[in-house]
């Protein structure tokens, strides 16, 4: 008797093991199909690697023969962009041209309260030494986040590398802002933005949020707050925190001067210019007397105040996807003597889309 049970033991265990594995597979495969939670997820999932980058895709099993990619319908009539984007499950594409990686930027991104499974990220990084560093840092953070807790994971992340045509030797602030460097720099920047935009904008995207890599502090509800205005293009006021030496305290000052309302002086200047010349803002050599949104900040004013703008900056900018789809892009050439984001506002305007700014709603730029 004892001898018999001893002989059977390994066989029973093997059988039990096989049975167990069978149960596991059975349970898990069936639960995938039945649970309603995964159904919702499925709608935002692509079946093959050939799919919009704004959608995550199912990995192909390596041992299966490659099936023909399916015919996919996108009902773009149903893509909405409303005042209440969360309730309508509207997807947001956050685009960032990245030259330097700041940990604060990523932390701030993770703090956004908009459902992360509705957010796709897109980055474009130049192929320079600095870019390589930024790439490595970003990759580490992305991997960490995307394998971390589910609620923090983003729907998808696309990282592009590209040679810039006019790579400036230095990303130093002083070098970057020299006037003669501006046109070439901003043309290259515009091309980078366009490359990023047109390759990542999927057929399901409702909103595009442009956010520069050096924006390190925003409201967690940034997207909801900006979308609530329900306007085609909207820019908050971009400020910078610094230590005020005179008053010996932490203070804030205006940073981005590209949000402005046009002036007659600027129009006259433009009229006298050659076809390829551009107007720039924030340079003493070229006084335009435009009304700058940066100067409109009023601490005690209505936080929800909204002004109509003629030029916008790209520091933080929420755009309805249809504005970009109609063709509004960042001109890398002088478009009405404007370039990049300012030219974008003008081009959108030619397509009958208006731009607005929020003078009293602040986001903060990194202080170098």
């Amino acid at each position: 008797m004892v001898k018999g049970s001893r002989g059977m033991n390994p066989i029973t265990f093997v059988l039990a093991g096989i049975l167990c594995i069978g149960f596991f597979i059975f349970f898990f495969s069936s639960s995938d199909a039945s649970s309603p939670a995964t159904d919702r997820q499925k709608s935002g999932t692509a079946a093959s690697v050939l799919s919009p980058p704004s959608l995550p895709f199912r990995k192909a099993k390596s041992n299966e023969p490659q099936a023909a990619p399916p015919v996919v319908h996108y009902y773009m009539n149903n893509v909405t962009n409303s005042r209440t984007p969360v309730e309508n499950s509207e997807t947001v594409l956050i685009l960032t041209p990245l030259a330097r990686f700041y940990q604060e930027y990523w932390d701030n991104l993770l703090k956004l309260s908009y459902p992360h499974d509705l957010i796709s990220l897109g980055f474009i990084i130049p192929k320079t030494k600095e870019g390589n560093l930024a790439y490595t840092a970003l990759q580490t953070q992305v991997t960490k986040t995307q394998s971390g807790p589910k609620s923090k994971r983003f729907a998808s992340v696309t990282i592009l590398r590209q040679d810039t045509e006019n790579p400036l030797q230095s990303q130093l602030e002083s070098e970057r802002h020299k006037m003669e460097n501006q046109k070439a720099r901003r043309a290259a920047m515009a091309k980078a933005r366009n490359s990023l935009l047109f390759t990542t904008l999927g057929p399901t995207t409702s909103w595009v949020l442009w956010m520069d890599a050096d924006i390190i502090e925003t409201q967690p509800t940034l997207i909801q707050d900006l979308a609530a205005y329900d306007v085609p293009i909207i820019a908050p006021n971009c400020f910078q925190r610094y230590y005020n030496e005179e008053e010996k305290r932490n203070d804030i000052r205006e940073y981005d001067y590209n949000n402005w309302i046009d002036s007659p002086t600027a129009k006259e200047l433009a009229a006298k210019m050659g076809k390829d010349d551009i107007l720039l803002e924030g340079y003493a050599e070229m006084p335009t007397y435009r009304s700058l949104m940066a100067k409109m900040y009023d601490k005690s004013g209505d936080p929800g105040a909204k002004v109509k703008l003629d030029g916008v900056g790209g520091a933080t900018l929420l755009v309805k996807a249809e504005v970009h789809r109609d063709g509004a892009m960042f001109p890398p050439f002088a478009f009405y003597h404007l370039i990049e984001t300012e030219g974008f506002a003008k081009m959108a305007n030619r397509l009958n889309w208006e731009s607005f700014g929020l003078p009293n709603y602040l986001v903060y730029h990194y202080n170098e």
Binding site: S35, T38, A68, N77, V157, M347
Partner: protein, 510 residues
């Protein structure tokens, strides 16, 4: 002497004493383990069993708690399909700049086709697709279907599904997307309203919008080339993608003509939107207001631009290139980097142009090369315009009238013939028989009176000449002829053989 070497019945081993090295003690009992250990082991087994049951149940009811086992064979046991999901993608755009021999470098092409009420042309379009020689798996197809009132969508879907279900894997294409988007256009798509001058600016702007929506939704970081193709191209080389790609230009278009019915000259330049800029046109552009759009091929704007279409020589070198500024949209091959850097189809007046012409202008503005091939021709479908249809109706009417007239004439002739035949079959035959008898008799007589006959023949000859003159006059008075004919035949019957002269003169002779 008998030696019992192995007398004890043992095997033939030398017995070297009772408990030597080779002795075996089969009857010795050894306990396997301690009872206490055995009991504990059972306990452990039971615990494990309970645990596994518990976790199975737990994971079954709460799938979110399942551990992540990474990707690998173990991933079968993981949570939902989550770890099967790829959420991060890396691309290097330097690899997709587009080269002259894309098919060797496996460069992907995005084929874009905006569609509206195009069900009629789809079968033709798909036959073109199947025939393309560029590796199909490298071609991604993207369609934008908008404001269609016919069954374009269903037909398109069916055709595409068939395409992907093709038994030969080489026939299958890459990513296929159909975007449905209605822009609420009021513009009619029939040829006349499509090409009328007044409708052009608005129509071009909305076409541009559709193209931009399609491109921005379908362009991926993997694309090296973008090919725009109208569905109503009737004839194009199968190798068109390679042919255009070989030139390694940023934007390139072939010449587009269309076949015509013979009465319109057999063929005609079709796409007049590929042109080189002219001084006249630039001067004209300066006089127009900001939102005006110059459209080519209309008398309203005389631009005097050299058009690609008019420069075609059927025997010219198909590889010849020509720098152009405006491009037509029937068949454009462009490097994807052109679109990535922001060039698009302006849905507003860009340097006084919109859609594909504006696209050409903008590409030029961004210093991309834009060329056309004057002697490499593809053929657009001929759809008759309203004028043509009217003309064709007129021609049809004319033709019918002519046919009717001919039919009437024929009927009349038949009637006449019938009357004639009737006489032939009855009276005529009888008479003929009689005549032949007479002739026979006459012959007999003739043999006797040869001399007389000779004289008579001379006389008739003279008379015949006179009659021929007379006859010429009578031909002019046509209506009389028919009656005369009857007389002719009857008369001929009377003296057929005796007077071997032309028929009508005989009549007079009689």
């Amino acid at each position: 002497m008998h030696r019992h070497a192995y007398s004890n019945g043992q095997a033939a081993y030398p017995s070297l004493g009772g408990n030597g090295t080779f002795s075996i003690e089969p009857h010795k009992f050894q306990p396997r383990s301690q009872p206490a250990l055995r009991r504990r082991r059972q306990l452990i087994q039971r615990l494990l069993l309970v645990c596994s049951v518990f976790f199975t149940a737990l994971f079954f009811f709460f799938p979110d708690l399942r551990p992540n086992l990474g990707s690998g064979p173990l991933s079968y046991l993981t949570a939902s399909e989550d770890s099967q999901l790829e959420t991060v993608r890396y691309y290097d755009l330097n690899n997709v700049q587009g080269t002259a021999r894309g098919w060797e470098r496996e460069e992907r092409i995005l084929l874009c086709a905006p569609l509206r009420d195009a069900a009629l042309h789809l079968p033709m379009f798909f036959s073109h697709l199947k025939n393309l020689t560029y590796p199909h798996n490298l071609i991604d197809l993207a369609f934008l279907v908008g404001d269609s009132k016919d069954d374009t969508i269903t037909l398109l879907t069916k055709n595409l599904n068939d395409l992907q279900a093709d038994p030969t894997p080489k026939q299958r294409f890459g990513e296929i997307s159909i975007m449905e988007k209605n822009f609420g256009q009021k513009v009619n798509q029939d040829v006349e309203s499509r090409h009328g001058f007044a409708a052009q600016a608005g129509r071009r702007k909305s076409m541009a919008q559709a193209r931009n929506w399609l491109l921005s939704a379908a362009l991926r970081p993997t694309h090296s080339w973008v090919y725009w193709r109208d569905v109503d191209v009737e004839t194009a080389p199968f190798t068109i993608l390679e042919d255009l790609m070989r030139h390694n230009k940023d934007v390139i278009v072939p010449n587009v003509w269309r076949p015509l019915p013979d009465w319109l000259g057999g063929e005609q330049p079709y796409d007049l939107n590929s042109w080189q800029e002219s001084e006249t046109a630039l001067a004209l552009a300066d006089t127009l207001d900001e939102d005006a759009v110059i459209v080519e091929g209309y008398a309203e704007y005389a631009t005097w631009r050299p058009h690609l279409a008019y420069l075609r020589d059927p025997y010219g070198d198909p590889d010849m290139e020509m720098e152009i500024d405006g491009v037509g949209g029937v068949s454009i091959l462009a490097k994807a980097k052109v679109f990535r850097s922001g060039v698009h189809f302006p849905a507003f007046s860009f340097e006084k142009h919109a859609e594909t012409e504006g696209f050409g202008k903008m590409a030029k503005r961004m210093k991309f090369s834009v060329v056309g091939l004057p002697h490499y021709t593809i053929w657009h479908l001929y759809e008759p315009s309203v004028d043509d249809i009217r003309h064709m109706e007129e021609m049809d009417k004319e033709r019918k009238a002519k046919e009717a007239e001919e039919a009437a004439k024929k009927e009349r002739m038949d009637k006449i013939k019938d009357q004639f035949d009737v006489s032939k079959s009855t009276d005529w035959e009888k008479e003929k028989a009689e005549v032949q008898d007479l002739v026979q008799k006459a012959k007999n007589e003739a043999k006797k009176e040869k001399d007389e006959q000779k004289q008579k023949a001379d006389e008739t000859k003279e008379e015949a000449e006179k009659v021929a003159e007379k006859k010429e006059e009578e031909v002019k008075a046509a209506p009389v002829v028919q009656k005369k004919d009857e007389n002719v035949h009857e008369a001929r019957g009377e003296d057929e053989k005796s007077k071997p002269q032309p028929v009508q003169p005989q009549n007079e002779a009689a």
